[in-house]
Structure formats: structure tokens, C-alpha cells
Symmetry: C2
Subunit: 215 residues, 2 copies
Amino acid sequence: MRIGILGTGVVGKTLGTKLAKLGNDVKMGSRKAGGEKAKTWVKGTSGKSSEGTFAEAAAHGEMVFNCTAGMASLDALYAAGAKNLEGKTLVDVSNPLDFSRGMPPTFSVPNTDSLAEQIQRAFPAAHVVKSLNTVTAAVMVDPSIIPGVHDMFVSGNDAKAKAQVIDLLKTGFGWKEVIDLGDIKGARAQEMWLALWARLYMKFQTPNVNVHVAR
Amino acid sequence: MRIGILGTGVVGKTLGTKLAKLGNDVKMGSRKAGGEKAKTWVKGTSGKSSEGTFAEAAAHGEMVFNCTAGMASLDALYAAGAKNLEGKTLVDVSNPLDFSRGMPPTFSVPNTDSLAEQIQRAFPAAHVVKSLNTVTAAVMVDPSIIPGVHDMFVSGNDAKAKAQVIDLLKTGFGWKEVIDLGDIKGARAQEMWLALWARLYMKFQTPNVNVHVAR
């Protein structure tokens, strides 16, 4: 499948590398094409990986991942262009974390709204699926890094887009339990979980923590 | 031990009943003494349980539990009186949930503050420990209701008060894993977790859900 990745940070590169390994045709997008990070990534990656602008990566993808920093996500998506996201599954991996007050971060969008809902409202023709934002990048594509049973979440308004993401999470990334939290408002829960995640990270001094839902 | 419980709802009654069974001398406090709910509870409870006003229950307790509805907690604690809470462990079980927008509830205090921090600021001589707010009442006092391993959290500024609560949680209520999230700011994480809890409740149609931290 052709996949567009928006954002060349650790999350974008980790997802891009794994998706390329799985045989996908991945284009990495950044604000300006030809940046060092993106070029280095292309060189080190298998298959016909490429890089370009946000708009080029979004146009390329049949499925698009938003891996930009939360507070820059809407701007990055506007640069990607509504037309290039139309009818596509847009996996929102970002978190609305505001580091300006120090650690742990606070949220730029909490409680009665979420970043994923903002994105869905701004791009109504895209099928936004919130997922993967609840764990650190390495764990996203290899859940076995954390021992024992632990879970991934999805939420979104479009059933087909969610099913596509769940299939990728399970068969591509190896997630055993993926919990569907319903419509895109479920993203509030996925994003606000980060408050506990950040506190656990500080306590255990490792980003390799995740939630298992006992019931 | 003498224990004061503020609030005669399901949480207060469930904790009061269990604490009485464990041999404690429990006084249940409500806005007005002599209410039907409190009187019925006293009749049905072992030991020398009693009821009275918020102030009487707080004065009675060597340890006090805030089991009032989150949006009424500060008022209830003002009625209990700062003097009656001075130097005591005040276990804050409440959640700042606002049901006025329907289900799932939103938060009256999220993100850069928490209800527990508000309480600690309003009553600086009390040793506030946030705990038990992350599960439904029945599970608070009997974690085995939910199968498998799952965890309880505490946060608070006073190490002795936290140790006292952790001991009660483990030896009294049967919690196997109690994670100390640090100072009272950890309450933000404990309170915001409720967004995910509420969504899981709606999905699985049971309040018997809790988190296990995989790491």
C-alpha cells in the first residue's frame, strides 16, 4: 500500500521504517522537502521509500499517518492539504502535549475536546482514526518490548477506516488486543491517558509502560 | 482506628462498611445529621458505627475519607472545617466529574490542576492522599471482583500519610500493587484516567474495569 507519513521525528521514522519493512511504499513528509533527517531516513530504509513535502506525502498515501508534534499538527495538515486527505484513512498518532510548563507536560486540548476531534472537524472528508498515541514509538511497532498483555486503542467515526487500522495493528505490528473506543470522541480518553503515562514514565524512568485493561 | 467518612453515597457507604468490618470506629458524615441514608447505614453496620454532620465525622476521625461528589467536595470540606482536618490523613476518593453535558462526563478541574490539589491548597494542614478514585466502589474494597492483576495509585505530599494509606489498601482492602505517583500533582493523572475509565464502562457495559500498568 502507498503510505504517507507526516513528520520526520522519532515517531514518523519508526512507523515509516516498520511500514516499509512490511512491504509498503512509504513517502515521508516534512515542512520542506530534501531535509537531512528525511534524506537520511530514505537512504537507510528498504524498498522504494521516498521523501517530500507534507502535501506530497499526503497525496502519495492511500493511508496517511499524522506523526507531527501535537501543537503543530493542524498547521502541518493544512500544509498537507484537505484535497490530499479526502476519503483517506488519516491515523492520528499525535498528542496535544504542551511542554512549556516543564515536565510532565500539560495538554493544549483536554477534556471537552481533543486534537483528533479538531483534526476531524478541520478535515471532514478525511477518515480520522486515533491510535498509537498511547505508547512510545518503539512499542507502537513492537508491542513485545513490554512484557505481558497490554492493549492498544482506536477511535473514529468511520467503521471501514477503523477496521483497516485494526488490521494493520494486529497483523502488521503484532498487537494482540485492540480496543475500539467508539467514535472520535474516544480520542479524549486516549489523549488524556498521557497524563498517567507521563507520570509513570517519570516514576519508572522508562518510556516502556502501557496500559492493560483488566475486566 | 477512628475514621470519618464524608459523604453517604455508594462510595461512602461501601468504604464505611468495609472499614467497620475491619474493626475501625467509623462515623459517617453528611450535610445534615440524622438523614435516612446515614441512619439506615448505621443500623446495618457492625461495631460501634455512628453518623453525624460533616464536622462531627471529621472531628471523630484520625483518618478522614472524602467520598462526596467531586463538584461538591470543597463545600463539604469547608463544612467539615479546617481545624477538624489539621494534621490528619485526608484520603481524597472524589472525582471532579461534571455530568451536565451528559455521558461520558467531562471534568470540572482538568489538566493544569486537580481536585486533590485544590483540596490540599484549601486545607494546607491536612495530609491529602489521592487514591481509590480510579475504580468503582465495590472494587475499591475488593479488588478480586476484577480478575487478573490490576493496580491502585496513590499520590500526596506527606510520606507518612501515604504509607498509612498504602498499608490500608494492601492489608485492609487486598490491593496487591499500589503505585506511588509522587506528590499531589499525581492526582491529575489519577483524575484524568477517568476519561478512559468512563469510555471503557460505556463499551463493556460494566463498571468493573481497571488499569494494569504493563512495564
